[in-house]
């Protein structure tokens, strides 16, 4: 397995685990921005982290070979017309 694949798999696994924020389980304070309980603010931040992870995956692990499918199908249609 390539190093890049291992690193990206580990990154996804770590972010998956970070979802279980047991340390915020029984507390409401501090209120972020004066009104958002910490447990809710953490999970909102987690959503931003998920978006960042997806941006990294798109940048580094995009299945580029699938982009060829479009041209292959076009090429094939052209052959037949």
């Amino acid at each position: 397995m390539k190093l890049k694949t291992i690193l990206l798999t580990a990154l996804v696994a770590v972010i998956y685990v970070l979802h279980q924020d047991f340390w915020n389980w029984k507390k409401a304070d501090p209120l972020i921005f004066g009104f958002l309980p910490i447990g809710l603010a953490y999970q909102a931040g987690y959503s931003l982290l998920a978006a960042a992870l997806m941006a990294v995956l798109v940048k580094t692990a995009w299945p580029k070979h699938l982009e060829d499918v479009q041209s292959e199908v076009k090429e094939q249609k052209g052959d037949h017309s």
């Binding site: 996804v12 998956y16 004066g34 999970q43 959503s47 998920a50 997806m54 499918v69 094939q76």
Partner: protein, 545 residues
């Protein structure tokens, strides 16, 4: 009255868009069901998101937050924000490519071809259709609830649009849009719908914050200080096992037929790039305000009769009437966007996987298939409407969705993963996983309807050391191994069935493996394997057209 007028205008706009799409449509199934696989990048994101978000995201989330607190966001939204984009990235893109190469329009068609077996496709069709209908019913129920709440003048009078009429309005408008416009009309409508409901949350929060003296902080602090309500701003009453179990639920998303079918409709695979990055943010934009306002509702409104209507009650109390109407249209958008795709998906599956697969096209032609699809849409919506009326008094929106649809579709995810990534997987493995899922659903449904909350069905050991293997929790949900949700044994059991079933039976033919895993074979064979089925599919559609 004003909210009703605003929503009426919105419904008319939806109808007009459906009519415009109808004028642009062609009389073939690829155009009707997939808009000729021509959906562009941003529209694809808006439409896929509308497909995924239901009344459940707005009404169910705020209702559950009112009952259980802020934990609902982590339970469903943030985990979905990670898992759903991952499934779209790894599975959705591959489905798109298979649709382009081989002409598949549904995942059932893919399964049939991948495992050289009709029966497995028919089984998965039957199970998917059975699980999708409750999801459709939720949408109609959500629409009926919204229209009734928004037209009862803050609960001071009988609603101008009673619940049964509201359900009927939603069902008729959605049916007309899908009936006339097919996928193209649905996608066009989604642009307006998604924009509306993405704005909904922020506007609702700002509006309500202006109406509350002292701001949100005061109310949240009050909830935290009272031992009776402090659980709403923490997760102290939420079992960690259930919280983790929920991270498996979003696996269901890509297995919902309407989501998978949407993946076939993109013009280019690059449409997925922007979608997967925006997805977690869009989920946050909807869920965070809804969950927060649901909790706030507990502080500001106290006890209410219908928790799923908490958001609407807050809008009625704290927003200007015309604004409440626009916000109500935002909610209706979420309801209708997904409902339209569900109806279209059911119709697509029934037409392609049953009617055409078993000889309908040869007998009656391609045009007749579109008429057939339209007739099916009317029948299925009528059935869903009747059930929505019957179930209104029996179960909450959230419970129906979770118990019957999400867990079942999540348990089918291993079948899809195996089909796409494991060439040694076989129809017997897929059949075993599907039957296992169906058996679990039936068994758990029977338990929920025949046992009482707190009943223990299977326990190992006695006293404090005892492990409750299978039991009903105090809310009446079937639970597993001291508190995990049923989705856990279902997903892992299904994966195990898939693996064992495949390993002990004969692999698919080499031709099929070469067709679906062309990177393993030589370049000339690969081109042939890729193009040959696409030739056939294109030729068939040209002939039929």
């Amino acid at each position: 009255m004003i909210p009703v007028i605003v929503i009426s205008i919105y419904l008319v706009i939806i109808g007009v868009i459906g009519g415009l799409a109808f004028r642009k449509s062609q009389a073939n199934t690829e155009d009707y069901f997939l808009a000729n696989r021509s959906v562009g990048e941003m529209v694809f994101f808006l439409s896929l998101f509308a497909t995924n978000m239901t009344a459940f995201a707005i009404l169910g989330s705020s209702g559950q937050a009112y009952r259980q607190g802020i934990g609902i966001y982590g339970l469903m939204a943030s985990s979905s924000g990670l898992v759903i984009p991952l499934t779209i990235f790894f599975i959705g893109t591959r489905l798109w490519a298979l649709g382009k190469r081989f002409g598949h329009q549904t995942q059932v068609a893919f399964f049939r071809d991948r495992w050289e077996c009709d029966t497995i496709g028919t089984m998965i069709f039957a199970l998917s259709a059975l699980m999708l209908v409750p999801y459709m019913i939720i949408s109609i129920m959500g629409g009926g609830t919204v229209l009734a709440h928004l037209s009862d003048a803050g609960g001071t009078q009988a609603p101008i649009i009673p619940y049964p009429v509201g359900c009927a309005v939603v069902a008729v408008v959605v049916t007309l849009g899908v009936f006339l416009g097919g996928m193209r009309g649905t996608v066009w409508v989604n642009i307006l719908q998604t924009t509306l409901f993405l704005c909904f949350g922020a506007v609702a929060v700002v509006t309500i914050s202006h109406a509350l003296p002292g701001g949100f902080g005061e109310y949240i602090s009050k909830l935290a200080a009272d031992p009776k309500t402090s659980f709403l701003v923490t997760r102290e009453k939420m079992p960690p096992q259930a919280f983790w179990s929920y991270t498996l639920i979003p696996l269901s998303s890509i297995m919902f037929p309407h989501m998978a079918i949407m993946c076939f409709s993109a013009r280019k695979v690059t449409a997925f790039r922007r979608t997967v990055v925006l997805y977690p943010l869009a989920i946050m934009l909807i869920w965070l305000p809804c969950v927060f306002l649901g909790v706030l509702g507990a502080a500001t409104l106290g006890k209410v009769a219908d928790a799923d209507g908490i958001l609407l009650l807050m809008l009625e109390k704290y927003a200007l009437v015309w604004l409440a109407g626009i916000l109500g249209a935002g909610i209706i958008s979420a309801v209708m966007g997904s409902d339209a795709h569900q109806i279209l998906a059911l119709s697509t599956m029934f037409t392609k996987d049953i009617y055409q697969h078993y000889g309908g096209r040869e007998k009656y032609g391609e045009k007749a298939a579109v008429y057939f699809a339209r007739a099916f849409i009317i029948i299925v919506t009528l059935a869903a409407y009747v059930i929505a009326l019957e179930l209104k008094t029996k179960q909450g929106i959230f419970e129906i969705a979770i118990r019957y649809a999400f867990s079942g579709f999540a348990a089918l995810a291993p079948v899809m993963v195996a089909a796409l990534f494991w060439k040694r997987s076989t129809k017997w493995g897929a059949l075993a996983a599907t039957l296992f899922t169906a058996a679990c659903l039936i068994y758990f449904a029977v338990l929920q309807n025949t046992r009482h909350p707190g009943d223990i069905i299977w326990q190992i050991g006695q006293g404090k050391e005892a492990i409750k293997v299978l039991f009903l929790n105090p809310r009446g949900d079937v639970s597993f191994w001291n508190g995990f949700m049923t989705v856990v044994p279902m997903v892992f059991g299904s994966a195990l069935c898939m693996i064992i079933g495949s390993l002990v039976t004969r692999a698919p033919s080499q031709a099929t493996i070469d067709k679906y895993f062309p990177e393993q074979i030589s370049e000339p064979s690969r081109r042939s394997a890729r193009l040959q089925p696409a030739f056939s599919a294109t030729k068939a559609s040209f002939t039929a057209g």
